[in-house]
């Protein structure tokens, strides 16, 4: 298996470089807004990587992740606000709740063909959203939940941005590691086989439903943890914001445009597109926030038509062309 591990090491370097650069970024400027952008890049890169696990590597295009995100946000927030439980405990609990939802959704939808699967995951996400809205409306007078700010590491609440930024960065590193471990493991091979031809994989002894389920669960766990972090970071959540399909579409977009089924792709996607998003939503604002989403739509269509492999495909193609040209120049020089 030598050439495979060699290729893996080569691809590891760009990702390591990216992560290193990203890690140094918060130190470039102490301006809170700048660090906020970096936090968002890390968080959305994290969410995009999580989605990529099941939808890129696994080939199962899921729109249910909004449910995992929202569940994680609510579990973490409510355990903290009502249960006075440290978010550091609340996050993994939220993650496990996300896993529970994923198992239910997965068992119900995995047998379905692609079209039905995608819509069913969307249906599940919207159904859970509706349920939460109904529940929050009946339990409280207002729809939203404010999370009281008591600064302290135990509460995952910080005075400045830096704490949040590095926690988000840590999450990103963890998921990159997890994705890499999965991809070089037996499960990674099974995933690619399943994505290639599910019937063949099954006939060769691969327990397809089980592999799908646990990758889905892993993806859900991370997404829910991301939701919990988001809740603590924003300080205020409501069903419409955390169960939002639009929010999910963003990190899905980053993964696709960056390059699905690659480790660098979602990070690249987030790195390039998050600042743009914040620019559109913050600086232009108002109805021009729509401009951002409009461009997203166009970018998505163009990406699929021109470079389905996203940024990573583009970069690899560029690298290949540069290499060929330098090789031919070397030949000529000889």
């Amino acid at each position: 298996m030598r050439s495979r591990s060699r290729a893996q090491l080569l691809t590891a370097h760009p990702v390591v470089g990216l992560l290193f650069a990203l890690g140094c970024l918060p130190l470039v400027s102490s301006h809170p807004f700048f660090r906020h952008v970096v936090t968002m890049i890390c968080l959305f890169g994290f969410l995009a990587e999580a989605w990529n696990l099941i939808s890129g590597y696994g080939g199962l295009f899921s729109l249910a992740h909004a449910a995992f995100f929202g569940v994680g946000a609510y579990v973490t927030a409510l355990l903290y606000v009502d249960g006075h439980l440290s978010p550091w405990i609340g996050l993994p609990i939220g993650g496990l709740c996300g896993v529970a939802v994923a198992v239910v959704v997965g068992l119900a939808t995995f047998r379905l063909r692609q079209f039905f699967f995608v819509l069913s995951t969307l249906a599940c996400a919207e159904a859970i959203h509706a349920l939460f809205s109904y529940w929050r409306l009946s339990v409280r007078t207002g729809l939203g939940t404010t999370i009281p700010r008591t600064v302290g590491f135990r509460n995952l609440t910080f005075d400045g941005e830096l704490g949040y930024t590095y926690i988000a960065f840590l999450f990103l590193v963890v998921i990159v590691l997890a994705t890499w471990i999965v991809s070089v493991s037996k499960q990674g091979y099974y995933l690619r086989a399943i994505k290639g031809d599910e019937d063949a994989a099954l006939s060769l002894g691969v327990n397809v439903p089980r592999v799908k389920l646990w990758v889905f669960a892993l993806s859900a766990f991370f997404t829910a943890v991301g939701g919990g972090f988001y809740a603590m970071y924003m300080g205020y959540i409501e069903p419409n914001s955390v169960f939002s399909i639009d929010l999910m579409v963003q990190y899905i977009l980053f993964a696709i445009v960056g390059g699905m089924a690659t480790i660098a792709g979602p990070i690249l996607g987030a790195l390039v597109l998050v600042p743009l998003t914040i620019f559109f939503q913050g600086f232009i604002g108002g109805t021009f926030a729509s401009l951002g989403f409009f461009i997203y739509g166009v970018v998505l269509v163009l990406t699929i038509l021109l470079a389905p492999g996203g940024f990573v495909q583009g970069i690899r193609g560029l690298a290949r062309r540069v290499r060929r040209r330098t090789e031919s120049m070397q030949d000529r020089g000889r």
Binding site: S55, G59, F61, A108, T109, L112, R113, Q114, F115, F116, V118, L119, S120, A123, C124, E126, A127, A130, L131, Y134, V249, I256, T287, F288, S290, L291, G292, F293, F294, Y296, G297, V298, V299, L300, V301, T303, I304, L305, P308
Partner: protein, 291 residues
Amino acid sequence: MLEVILQLILSATFTGIIYALMAIGLNLIFGVVRVINFAHGEFLMLAMYATYWLHRGLGLDPYLTLLISAPLFFGLGIAVHLGIIRHLLTAPEESQLIATFGLAFALRYGANLVWSSEHRSVTTPVSAKVLEIGTITIDYPHLIGAGIAAALIVILFILLYTTFLGRAIRAIADQPTAALTAGINVERIYYTAIGLGLACVAVCAVAISPFESVFPNIGANFTLLSFVIVVLGGLGNLWGCLLGGIIIAQIEMLVSFFFAPALTTFAYFVVFLLIVTVRPSGLLGSAARRS
């Protein structure tokens, strides 16, 4: 009380026929070209805006704008096929999904940019008129809307079951590879089917404009509705669309009446999930149908 229920059922049936037309449009596109069209509702939204602006700009009776918008959207269908769909026919299914998803987004927020999120409604001379049969009151917009939809559905049935074009469309929907070897010009059938699908959407828009105001985000709901109806009735089955449309409209009416209008979306999803797990081939679909 009984009269109220009867009236609601009748009204819902009319709405259902219009929904059915929209679902038939999706069925034509999905069943023939086999591309998942996430932007279906957005095209309806565009068509509703077209109706509005043609009415405002040219002073036409909204129902007459059909004569312009139907051919216009037929052409739009061909353009969409040539520009986007054609390149995705050999791509993995997820690419088609993502592309139409992106298209839906672009259309929705593009509309928001150009026309703002203001609700716009159309009025016709008959908007306020009602027909009274005994104690039952039917408003003209619902009646005429359903009539137009039904007329187009009948025309489509005739087209699909008697003309050569229609049979070619059905052949490709059933057995794509066999149709190819039979010498049918598949490319031409594809864009004809998409064109027809969008023309249905345009007519649908005209039918509902008098009682449904348009705003950029209205598309999402209708996309979902179309998919639920298509799945409920059975993929590729036109009678199924008709039945599904009427049933869904009844469900919408019942949920609205007994619970809350906001829960109708939830109801659609529940119906969708039920059908997909219990009877994936739909009410009238054949179980033997393969991808």
